[in-house]
Symmetry: C2
Subunit: 564 residues, 2 copies
């Protein structure tokens, strides 16, 4: 979000100039957590012990608020920034509030995406730490993933007692790097002592099923059980082989033990924030860990969290996967919108986005209102946050507000990016007044018992406004097989483009009557969902022509620069 | 070293039962370091800030003691254990002493090697942390290595302006895992969008040149310069391409910034220990970081450190590479010997090692005395530490002591494994009385100006007792080219088996008149040495039939078990 305003200060400059409080006293004063229940990482990051979290079980839960967004532009509309801004603003108006965010992936920092810890005056800090290794969680997830991979090929090397079919190994190696050269490799070359050559693939670490498991597991016991349930591949007669069949899950859990504790940091305004886990929002569910969200609900009266991509993907999975499994009941959704994105959905070309165009805003609002209507299907009250840019005009903003009002929803202008909590105070008050109404339980989109195919169709028709879903006979058979194998009660995790309600990223606005083609279906038996892939989904990004890494550096006094 | 005695307690049981002191107060009370100069990782590990280390520059240096060993058996003779035991014993007799160790590699924990943080009652703790992720240093080194790798293939993908020859890329990817399937791969398969398919290789992280650089760099500026100097490959006309040509070194340094701070932990007896860096002892120099050693010398009067493998490899490189480059002057070497290893070098088969055999001990002592004589060539006083096993007999031990005495060297019986510092008190007193003699500067084995070929020949003839070195014409040409390209002043880093003075691992004892065949020579332009590979050197281990990982687990109360 560094292009939001013309500002003399970059995100990293603002973050480096932050006046942080030491995390142990902050945890004590603000959350009542004693030092012995914390595992500090430096003076400004700490993990919270699992023992302590267990002891919170009897406390009442705070109110959960989801920050989601309209279908985004490639630059993103500022969900993380709004989550931070709203959290800070709730504290500003005297509420005890915490935020829960995903951890950024290291790899994309070297590409073009830059940091993912908020932006402007709505950031979590220490920014460079959070964007680089943080507390090592993703490294631990990578090790657990790659230990399993090594044990698979090692098993084959030593005789393949389980009868794994090398052509049917589904487990991939991972690295937290944008490295297109590893998307598709042949491994085990070079002769007898290196094993049996086979096709293999690397994904980026956040795409690992271990990451999804890490974020959905409720405790260490559940984590280990889920790791054991991972299906790594199949025999020639298509019998699944699990991580537990290789005795890998105990060591994988050991490797994840420390990482599994949620990370506590602070916002620029010194409010507590949990930043923990970060699964992909396409082939996984795209939310921070269940453990972090549950912990925050015990520690604060208001918890603001985010879900990846637009509401069609992020919010739907947050509700139908995370809330379903973790028994969470969010009481409001904040949908982030920008005038820029509305204009883009209204047909304006990128180079013309700076020019006032009320008609395009009105046209593009169909995208926003579709998301609002969708969230209402979950019985979730909605507030729209208009994330302000300096080029937005009063007429454009008023147009959005009018359209939202006609859908029974308030649209609040926010400038937390430029002003911190002061810029989101109205949003905070609007959300609080919403939360003062008696909460009703959310409605999930489908029942556990609904067959997998019907689940996908339900999401496609109700959320994407598609007429139907289609698939090759082969994929249809896979659906039937999964149903027969006993995976029919899993929720579905649909991977499609975030830029459109359809599977065509160029179809902006609110396309209807389209058909969703299903290319592939995979079971994530540890994460306990079925991944349904629609369209081209990239699980290993590449670096651009001039990688951001070429600008990153350390000064002689040890300050990191060039990380955006 | 878990098979040393029949003891009711395993290393991990002893470590888990340790009564650790919190590291911040320990650092304050024992070393006078204030909290603000430390970066804690939990309550029992901390990094020491580079700023603080810089401010120590004017303090006098303590005395440096190297722990090395005779040619080891596959189980190892207990160098780390002896380093810990001696350090604790020096503290026990009232000296202000610290130890400096290498960080263990995570990968081998899952194979058969198990932990590498000492053993018995001579360990550094927290043991499971140190053996698993510790403070994330190796993860950071892996990321820096793999960032460079990704930037290489990305450069080729986007047009290859520098003209890198895909066949002449020497930079390899790494993973901290024993994964033979990655030794030899073909990458960039799958079509236009994935790049140009080429041969590629993964090494284990400790084999990365980044690790060697990390351990030899004197400060951040030197680190960045060395990273920039890495040669990643060559053009078709054999012009070297460097990491700096890809603008990768700034980001690599940024990724390493936190890791570069030395790690402070404690021994089981609550004495301070620095554990930092851990390069391979074959294709690299096998010692902990220069920064840690220099820091320890400022903080303590006695610093005990270790070098990998036997003295022919570890001590030679410690002296000719690390001490040469970092201007260190060790004042004594402790050579660890075991009766078991002496018998093995005396021709006893593994299954007969438990039986008394004084003649075999005497015969095998030729290996030990060769190492002693070698160390005397560096003008380094020697004390032998006999690391006691329960099966050792008095006659066997006396035989070793007599033979050492005839070489003018004291051989002290030690039982720090079973008794902690009490078991190494005599060793400590012996070393201290040695250090009370006026120190003379060590003599390095060769001058910087000696040509590379002659350097290798000097090491081979003086240390390995070889008659000569040989190589194919192609390798000889490479020596000449490196000499012409201006790398002639670098020290040589010889990679050969640790089990024999020769390049044949089965030639025990003290073989002479052998010839050392050189298979390959590579320049490590960032680490600033020339790697000379003699015999089969494995830079990516594999897992055994039943990996140790299958035994590793976490209990429901969060304790890691099965890590040996």
């Amino acid at each position: 979000m560094t292009d939001q305003h013309t500002t003399p200060k970059t995100d990293i400059e603002i973050a480096n100039a932050a006046s942080m409080e030491k995390i142990l006293p902050l945890a004590k004063e603000r959350l009542g957590i004693e030092e012995d229940n914390l595992e500090p990482f430096g003076h400004y990051k700490t993990k919270i012990s699992l023992d302590y979290i267990e002891r919170l079980a009897d406390r009442p839960d705070g109110k959960l608020i989801l920050v989601t967004a309209m279908s985004p532009t490639p630059a993103g509309e500022g969900k993380t920034t709004t989550t931070v801004g709203l959290g800070d603003a709730l504290n500003r108006i005297g509420k005890k509030a915490m935020i829960c965010l995903r951890e950024p992936s290291l790899g994309p920092c070297f590409g073009m995406k830059g940091g993912a810890a908020g932006g402007g005056y709505a950031q979590v800090v220490p920014m460079t730490d959070i964007n680089l290794h943080f507390t090592g969680d993703f490294h631990a997830i990578g090790v657990a993933n790659n230990l399993l991979a090594a044990m698979i090929d090692n098993h084959i090397y030593w005789g393949n007692e389980l009868g794994l079919d090398e052509r049917r190994i589904t487990w991939r190696r991972v690295v937290d790097m944008n490295d297109r050269a590893l998307r598709y490799i042949v491994n085990s070359m070079g002769g007898v002592s290196n094993g049996f050559p086979r096709e293999d693939h690397f994904d980026i670490t956040v795409a690992s099923e271990v990451m999804a498991i890490f974020c959905l597991a409720t405790d260490m016991k559940d984590l280990k059980k889920r790791l054991g349930n991972i299906i790594v591949g199949f025999t020639r007669d298509r019998k699944p082989i699990h991580a537990r069949d290789l005795d890998a899950h105990g060591a994988m859990a050991a490797v994840l033990k420390d990482a599994f504790q949620p990370n506590l940091v602070q916002t620029l305004e010194n409010n507590p924030a949990l930043v923990h886990g970060g699964p992909f929002a396409n082939i996984a569910h795209g939310c921070n860990s269940v453990l972090a969200t549950r912990t925050a609900l015990k520690l604060a009266d208001y918890v603001v969290t985010e879900a990846g991509f637009g509401a069609d993907l992020g919010a739907e999975k947050f509700l139908d996967i995370k809330c379903r499994k973790a028994d969470l009941n969010p009481e409001a959704a904040v949908v982030v919108a920008t005038v820029r994105a509305l204009k883009m959905h209204g047909g304006v070309a990128k180079q013309d986005l700076g020019r006032e165009d009320v008609a395009a805003v009105q046209m593009g609002s169909r995208n926003l209102t579709r998301h609002i209507d969708n969230l209402h299907k979950f019985d979730l009250p909605v507030v729209v946050a208009i994330n302000r840019f300096s080029t937005d005009t009063t007429a454009e903003i008023e147009a959005v507000q009018e359209i939202c009002a006609s859908h029974g929803v308030k649209a609040v202008l926010c400038d937390h990016w430029g002003k911190g909590s002061a810029g989101a105070e109205v949003l905070a008050r609007t959300v609080v007044s919403q939360l003062e109404k008696p909460a009703r339980p959310i409605s999930l989109l489908y029942e556990d018992e609904t067959p997998l195919w019907e689940k996908v169709k339900t999401v496609a028709t109700k959320i994407y406004a598609a007429d139907d879903i289609i698939a090759d006979q082969k994929v249809e058979n896979q659906f039937r097989e999964l149903q027969e194998q006993g995976f029919g009660h899993y929720p579905v995790c649909i991977a499609k483009t975030q830029y459109s309600f359809s599977t065509d990223p160029t179809l902006r606005g609110a396309p209807s009557h389209h058909v969703v083609p299903i290319r592939e279906v995979r079971v994530a038996a540890g994460a306990e969902f079925v991944v349904v892939i629609c369209g081209d989904i990239m699980t290993m990004p590449g670096l651009p022509r001039i990688p951001a890494a070429t600008q990153i550096d350390v000064t002689e006094n040890g300050q990191i620069i060039g990380l955006f």
